[in-house]
Amino acid sequence: MPGLDITRSPGRVAFRLAVPRVSGVLHPRLILVCPALGAAAFLVFCLTVGAGTGDYALAPHAVVPALWGAGDPADVFVVRELRLPRASVALLCGAAFGAAGAVFQSVTRNPLAGPDMLGITQGAGAAVAGGIVLGVGSAPGTQTLGLAGALGAGLLIYLLAWNRGTTGYRIVLVGIGISWMCLSLTSYLMSRTELHQAHRILGWLVGSLNDRGWEQARPLALALVTLAPPVLLLGRLRRTLELGDEVAAGLGTPVQRVRMVLLLCGAALAAFATAAAGPVLFVALASPQIAQRLAGTASPPVVTAAFTGSVIVLTGDLIGQRLLADAVVPVGVVTGVLGAPFLLWQLARADKTGSGG
């Protein structure tokens, strides 16, 4: 291609465009892995919409016309109002959890950090439990409550961790504290309430895509579109943070500002995803780690982690719906059951080859 120059120097491959003057470093494995995961996510998405699940028998060849509103009105309803929004919520919330996890792990320099370890998810849980017990929450109610709880927890963590600036370490410690506080509060609320309400809380806490529709997908899509650009644009400075605050500051990175923006974006991504689907545990923790190992990078790659998250949630939901004929298993259960062994396998393999990452 004219104007595109690809050079190899020791340890890196770089690309440059003549016009406009754009240049960057290429990670050969990332170039393969990222689109492959994107394609996989798209495939499972199509499978969810097309092959479908549930009791309604729909011929695969009727799906595509139904997408455009042609064919049997019942088919159109099932595809456009049930399957498509459900698959969209799965795709979007997986992406949001994956990206949020990558941001948290990178900014705190801690592979165990993530919105579901640092109290963001638990904040949403406590708010939803409180709402249900106090009688505020019908379905859209839990969504708003979850969002408010998660965002509130995120802000609280950041403010409490502030002491002339924050450090990744303080954020992790404060986050764990907030997380246990919210868990205790949720347990207390559940123990004080009636059985059917406790059951509803529990149902939300597991994380599920049942009865999720466009009213969940829309705000989540909007959040992703809004929050992805700042996260991606700060990627270059985020990587300097991984060398430690002092080195990053020495390299001219405004450490506190960058960390604040990234953490708030990460918390907001996780908050919107939790609001839409409940806490689909494990996705935010595992997606960045799986993506990082697949791509062979030293830090969690955000976009790849987002695709990984989408694949995990979509696959988890598909399996959850299909696994047992008479019972629908919530996606949060499936992601935990299947994701954990995969991560363990990756860790074990990394240790054997000695790469560690």
Partner: protein
């Protein structure tokens, strides 16, 4: 489409990065530094001689690392300020400072799996924008830094698989790739064995002589400080008590005052610089011939 690797550029080159005069001017005026309520440095004035190696020495907790951090704008002063080319580094845009002044903190850590090339590439951060993340200038600077530090052959290796000395060289290469006329190093020889300590110090002298970089570093070893410094800055409880060429400044009296340790000072048989020999409690401090 794939072009062959570029021929390595000659390492000798005056750093010309940044937007200031070639000869950097770094000074501290009335500097007052504190952690929380504890004042560490009080009313300190210092002019860093351009193009030379200055070494800060002093007992533990005398404020030498604190001073270095303040000179690198990593610590905001409670009073006074640090001027780089006549402008306060605390109000200058931090990126602009990073093009004139590089800092290597004490024992930095990198994420697991980071390769030498990736680390050294990070040194280019202050020269990059999000749309121009790897210009030919970046590539040349990294190649030069890898050459100068002898790390070119290890460019592909992850840091955790290097020896301690090689790892420290990789970090120095990162700071070198930043191409700043001023380089601050906080105890660059910590945790290295003696051979690697000398190796790193020789490398720093190379950078200073070949590229006329101004170097300020904190060292623990007095004899290494005397040998490698053009100028020593001796600190005691937050004050500069002596400053100048090692041969002029270092005396048994000064060492006793600063470190509370009796010693004899003789000439280093290799370099001719002052050699400090501690006496301790079990020796008399007199030579066997009774002089």
């Amino acid at each position: 489409m794939t072009s062959p690797p570029p021929p390595p550029s000659p390492p000798a080159r005056v750093p010309q990065a940044g937007d200031g005069p070639a000869e950097p001017e770094l000074r501290a005026c009335g500097l007052r530094l504190a952690y929380d309520d504890r004042i560490v440095v009080e009313d300190l004035d210092l002019v860093v001689p351009p193009g030379r190696i200055s070494v800060v020495i002093g007992a533990n907790a005398c404020g030498k690392s604190t001073l270095l951090r303040a000179l690198a704008r990593l610590l905001a002063p409670r009073g006074g300020g640090v001027l780089l080319d006549g402008r306060s580094i605390h109000t200058m845009p931090t990126r602009q400072v990073a093009r004139r002044l590089g800092i290597l903190p004490q024992s930095p850590t990198a994420p697991e799996g980071l390769t030498v090339a990736d680390l050294v590439g990070q040194g280019r951060a202050p020269h990059q924008t999000w749309w121009r993340q790897w210009s030919p200038g970046d590539q040349d600077a990294v190649t030069r830094a890898l050459l100068a530090t002898g790390m070119l052959e290890h460019a592909d290796r992850p840091l955790e698989r290097l020896s301690g000395g090689q790892r420290q060289r990789a970090w120095i290469a990162m700071a070198v790739a930043q191409e700043t006329p001023v380089l601050l190093l906080d105890e660059p020889t910590t945790f290295l064995d003696l051979a690697h300590q000398i190796d790193v110090l020789d490398l720093i002298v190379d950078l200073n002589r070949r590229e006329r970089r101004t170097v300020v570093m904190v060292l623990h070893d007095l004899n290494q400080a005397c040998r490698y410094a053009d100028r020593v800055i001796v600190m005691k409880s937050g004050h500069v008590v002596a400053e100048g060429e090692p041969a002029e400044v270092m005396s048994a009296g000064l060492v006793e005052e600063v470190f509370g340790m009796r010693c004899r000072v003789t000439a280093d048989p290799v370099s001719g610089t002052p050699l400090i020999i501690p006496i301790g409690r079990h020796h008399t401090g007199r030579a066997p011939d009774g002089r």
